[in-house]
Symmetry: C2
Subunit: 119 residues, 2 copies
């Protein structure tokens, strides 16, 4: 069946969450949001493109930092309301310079830092 | 630092997205939503508990189906607005009886089914 970004289920702001996962390792890098145009651009360019809620503009991941995400595969969930982008992440995915945004564990009621910023 | 679910960033409905990932394999199983009480219950019971938006009630994953998620680790992202639950998933995570909800790939503009329902 042919895929149309318009068939996805967007929230009241026209956005759908997208999880980015490193190809091969399975590491979860980040979660950000896309609108229908960002989904289309991501598929066309193979450069993962989000919608920045703070800037209200397209956010081609790594465009300024160089920490790009090359799209390997885009997957849709059973309810069509969440996306999974399997990617090749160049360097850190997180704005804190860590590989992943999910670097804080809640362990025995305490926040524990699992990884340091990359050099 | 001690963790308090109230410090997370919730949306206008008081919800935060939570990604469930199988421990060890890195497989992404599903994404669903939690409110602050669901986060607290998940940490207390080690049984992953979401907030069902359709039923407007707690959803202890697997309570009726038996397809439970045992919490191995809960992680918070850099913006405190997304959670990652590393879990041991019993059987299928998806209501379609597939292991993961992300069973549809968009490949060359077509939807491709990556996995079949479990027996």
């Amino acid at each position: 069946m042919s895929f149309d970004p318009a068939t996805l289920v967007y929230d009241a702001n026209g956005l759908i969450p997208c999880i980015a996962q490193q190809d091969g390792t399975g590491e979860i890098l980040m979660m950000a949001w896309m609108n229908a145009d960002a989904v289309a651009k991501t598929l066309e360019t193979k450069r993962v493109t989000y919608w920045s809620r703070s800037r209200q503009s397209f956010w081609i991941k790594g465009e300024t930092s160089g920490h790009t995400q090359e799209l390997i595969d885009l997957r849709v969930d059973c309810d069509q309301d969440c996306l999974l982008a399997v990617v090749n992440q160049e360097g850190p995915a997180c704005h804190t310079n860590r590989r992943s945004c999910f670097y804080t564990s809640v362990t025995d009621g305490e926040e524990v830092e699992l990884m340091k910023p990359m050099k």
